[in-house]
Symmetry: C2
Subunit: 220 residues, 2 copies
DNA sequence: ATGGGAATAATGTGATCACAGATCATCGCG
DNA sequence: CGCGATGATCTGTGATCACATTATTCCCAT
């Protein structure tokens, strides 16, 4: 920390550890698609933008590269990942494997208040599409899914899924920016209907198609 | 690196980055069950045992905690994870989800040489059981599975699975040490038979039972 | 104008240090 | 003899520095 002597002795201790603040900040930028694929980052730059030295920035970057949110180019340069089409399809198929399972586990615990909240998030999602706001679209889309999966009470599986989302963040940004569509994807309504009906098979199918269709016809 | 002046100028540059050596070494210790759950580790101790300073040790630890291989106890102390029974069951169910999928993807590419190699690994596995060598048992067991999954050509999915194995490493060590069984699990033979027969459904089932049975009756 | 090479700047890496908080041992008191 | 307080030690954190390597810039020769 090094505070008392050389520093002007700011009275409040850091409410959160510095490297954790940096980690969370960068993670959100990547997952929400605020960064395009291949965006170069520097330790000193990250540190400066968060008001810390290189050390916490390095630890945050190390953590994020471990999760696939960032990649090291040749000789240590760090950047957001540029995924090949095969990798995109593989990550989509992982989503297609995990998300129906998480939804199914959440189904029995999904009471009406939860469904209403998901519907409200879905409205925000539709507005983001009309506004052509890619970041807000990605954010609300993930929030829609996460709100459901939180009910599955499977933290390890949700954690795994979030690393997949993380890896796809910059790619989704690039795709949704290129696309400029103005109509909402139809599958969220199917998900909500299956939840209301308590229909496990329909729910699993709705999620699988939402996940795969969402990327399949974008990758060319 | 800091070599030329203060150091005796050892001529060879580090073939691999120091933090990466530390990361790989620790990762193997955890995954192969060389460490029991709750084993405390210290940055300075890790650094000393690898002949480096705290800095690379810190980065390796940060990376491993991101993958769930290590946990931070209250106020930053680092240790191997002590999993609750619910967490163990959840991780087992993730294995039961991913491993049949990986096996199925590998099936079409599993030629005879691969099956022979798996059989040889399985023999080593059986010997490790007779020798009551938990670490070697865990190592060969994972190698048996990984040899198959490598053929699936799905690096992201295999990477996800390996983080699950990592989280289970110390727990498996504790369980297999406590158990002291001397008979090989029967499911590996079923896996090999399904591979030879090219029977996808049987292969998926064999893996699912191998994964779940392997842990289910140990957790009490 | 253009291509190449040298000088310069930028970047990641690892070591070291000061510091704060936690942990542990020891000693003294009841 | 037991137990709590107090001092010493241990541990993670963040900053800073030296260094090697890579990238960039700039200038001159063709």
């Amino acid at each position: 920390m090094q505070s008392s002597i050389l520093r002007p002795a700011l009275a409040d201790p850091p409410a959160q550890l510095a490297h954790d603040r940096v980690y969370r900040g960068l993670r959100q930028q990547v997952m929400h698609g605020e960064l395009f694929p291949g965006t170069p980052l520097t330790l000193r730059g990250i540190g400066k933008s968060f008001g810390v030295s290189m050390t916490p920035a390095r630890e945050a970057v190390r953590r994020l590269t471990a999760e696939g949110a960032l990649t090291f180019s040749a000789s240590g340069r760090v950047a957001t990942p540029e995924l090949s089409n095969e990798r995109i399809e593989e990550l989509a198929s992982i989503r297609a494997l995990l998300e129906p399972e998480l939804a199914s586990r959440a189904l029995r615990r999904a009471h009406l208040a939860l469904i209403d909240r998901m519907e409200s998030i879905n409205d925000s999602n539709a507005r983001a599409i009309h506004r052509q706001d890619p970041v807000e679209y990605i954010r609300t889309n993930l929030e829609f899914h996460r709100t459901l999966y939180l009910r599955a009470q499977s933290p390890a599986m949700l954690g795994l899924l979030e690393t997949v989302w993380l890896q796809l963040g910059p790619t989704m940004r690039a795709l949704y920016t290129r696309l400029k569509r103005t109509t909402a994807p139809p599958h969220h309504r199917l998900i909500l209907e299956a939840l209301r009906a308590g229909d496990d098979a329909a729910l699993r199918l709705a999620l699988r198609t939402d996940v795969t269709q969402g990327l399949r016809h974008l990758v060319v």
